[in-house]
């Protein structure tokens, strides 16, 4: 037997994208059947799915209506990229970004239970399913939930007249990228939680993101410290969706997309590593 034949064979994806294959950690390169994991989650969730969709609809509805009724009349138009826009149009896409983030984060918190209590992963990993399949499947599922929230949210925005450009349609793929990023972050966070008590820390981390990502006021409010906002992953989502909603397209938007995708890859990779170390010892 030669040494070459004992090595795992390269997948089609690896042959097609050798560079991506090199950058990805081994756990992810082994992913072959992440859709099986989606299928399992669908079987579990299909009976309660309608409630998730309704929840995704009511949350933005309450948010947007309170913003519109409350702040809308109190706050003057805000300058974004050289044009003045009503405050509600300024805030709505940011809330959409936050909703995609929350949808994905809530979903990945279930991962804590799958690792520690339900032992769902352990029984999956006894089959040809790999850690890469599990984490990619879970992030895709979380992204799906985030995307459903976003569609509901966008429907409410359109109905309430908070959109101003047809480019706003691109907020859906934009939200999906945000959900992917926070799916990755949430998955890693879920592997770090040691007990149910640790769930307390999740809002401690996500609330500042929600408040200080140029969600409710422009970056200029921070003065010289404005650059700090760039460190918030959510800010890149907010900036992306805000520009798309107003139809202010620029190459800079691709930078935001790149940051979010990088966060997704890092999140998923770290989570895969940690799950591997916990379960495949």
């Amino acid at each position: 037997m030669t040494t070459a034949s004992t090595r795992p064979r390269a997948t089609n994806a690896q042959r097609a994208f050798p560079l991506t294959a090199m950058l990805l950690p081994p756990a992810l390169r082994q992913a072959h059947r992440p859709f099986r994991i989606l299928e399992r989650h669908w079987f579990v969730g299909k009976t309660s799915f309608i409630w998730i969709i309704l929840g995704g609809f009511f949350e933005p509805f309450f948010f947007l209506i309170s913003t519109d009724l409350g702040f809308g009349g109190l706050i003057d138009d805000i300058e974004v990229g050289g044009t003045l826009v009503p405050y509600v149009e300024f805030v709505a896409p940011a809330l959409l970004a936050a909703s995609a983030m929350n949808g994905a984060m809530y979903e990945t918190m279930n991962v804590f239970f799958r690792i520690n209590f339900d032992k769902t992963y352990e029984s999956m990993l006894a089959t040809p399913v790999t850690v890469g399949d599990v984490v990619i499947g879970d992030v895709l599922w979380a992204t799906l939930r985030g995307a459903i929230y976003s569609v509901a949210f966008m429907a409410v925005m359109v109905a309430m007249g908070m959109t101003s450009s047809w480019w706003g349609v691109l907020m859906l793929p934009g939200s999906i990228v945000i959900a992917l990023a926070f799916g990755g972050v949430g998955l890693t966070a879920a592997t770090m939680l040691r007990s149910i008590e640790d769930f307390e820390y999740v809002p401690t981390a996500s609330l500042p993101l929600f408040l200080f990502s140029a969600t409710f006021f422009p970056v200029s409010a921070y003065g010289d410290l404005g650059w700090i906002v760039n460190l918030s992953p959510l800010y890149h989502g907010v900036a992306l969706l805000r520009a798309l909603n107003l139809g202010q397209l620029s190459w800079g938007l691709l930078g935001h997309v790149a940051v979010l995708l990088a966060i997704a890859v890092v999140g998923v990779s770290v989570a895969a590593r940690r799950i591997e170390r916990t379960l495949l010892t």
Binding site: R36, R40, F43, V44, D118, E122, S123, A126, T127, T130
Partner: protein, 310 residues
């Protein structure tokens, strides 16, 4: 693959967790159609060995081959041909009984329709067809175990790995389970199981190894192990509480050897009744006495100086 090549082959197999050595270099072969057991107390290294064999735990040292493949590089291909019954059932509590099986089958890329048909067939095999739509929670321990066994058979495995299959079950549930496992064996499925029950090992295993502190201390068919390591019969003597240890000198020379346990004294002899007469003749009459066939428990006690289930 060569026909006489074993399905599982381990040489100098080791497992370390940090400084702790769970498995300290063991050798064993399991052949097709065989029913092979790992017998030993908690902490002997049985489960660590099983997890390595199941290709979910990396080998620290030595060599392990399943179907001639190395779990380090061909884990997926190996797992595709194994059935696993873990110690805790690890059933998906979010799914009903039948869906547990169907979804598990999908992990092996079995088509949806085929998986559904296979699930129904296997629920019949484990006599749970009337529970197909039940949730997992309300099932008894024995039923959950049977669901887990049905689940492990979804991919028609060549080897079935069972980690303490009947621990925690009542006697009736154990017998139902043994019966099903025996049928699988007759169908040619290779069984590999761990247990700390002597009767289970004697019932189910063609051949077994006794493990203690990460090492194999004996190997062979159950009957042969008993024959080689222990006289035919055991005389169990019970003296008043606390008085067992004092009997040593009085019993010296009776039978092949004695073992003083906290609650009783064991005398190993080819003729237990004759040994008992001798005990009475010496005036060391116990409160109660019992002559029985010697068992794997005695072999274990002989080899390690400790009882198996503490």
């Amino acid at each position: 693959m060569d026909t006489d090549e074993p399905l599982i082959r381990a040489r100098g197999l080791e497992k370390r967790f940090g400084d702790f050595e769970a498995v300290k270099g063991i050798d064993f072969d399991v052949h097709r159609g065989e029913s092979f057991g790992f017998l030993g107390p908690n902490g002997a290294g049985k489960s660590s060995t099983m997890r390595m064999v199941g290709a979910v735990s990396p080998v620290t040292g030595g060599e392990l081959r399943l179907f001639g493949l190395d779990p380090a590089t061909d884990g997926k291909a190996i797992r595709a041909r194994l059935g696993v019954v873990p110690q805790q059932d690890q059933l998906d509590e979010m799914l009903n009984v039948e869906d547990n099986l169907v979804i598990y089958g999908r992990y092996f890329d079995i088509s949806y329709a085929e998986s559904r048909a296979q699930a129904r067939k296997l629920l019949e095999f484990v006599q749970l067809e009337d529970r197909a739509t039940s949730k997992i929670m309300p099932l008894s321990g024995g039923m959950k175990r049977r669901v887990t066994i049905a689940r492990s058979l979804m991919n028609d495995p060549e080897i079935l790995l069972l980690d303490e299959p009947t621990t925690g079950l009542d006697p009736q549930a154990r017998h139902v389970l043994w019966d099903r496992l025996y049928r699988l064996k007759q169908q040619g499925v290779t069984l590999v199981l761990t247990t700390h029950y002597m009767d289970e090992a004697e019932q189910l295993c063609d051949r077994l190894v006794i493990m203690d502190e990460g090492r194999i201390v004996a190997e062979g068919p159950p009957a042969e192990l008993i024959r080689v390591h222990s006289p035919r019969e055991v005389l169990e003597l019970r003296y008043p509480a606390g008085a067992n240890a004092e009997q040593g000198p009085a019993l010296e020379g009776i039978g092949a050897r004695q073992e003083v346990l906290p609650d009783r004294v064991l005398v190993y002899a080819d003729d237990g009744e004759a040994a008992l007469s001798e005990v009475h003749r010496r005036g060391a009459s116990p409160e109660s006495a019992l002559v029985r066939r010697s068992s794997l428990e005695d072999v274990f006690l002989r080899l390690t100086g400790r009882t198996l289930v503490e």
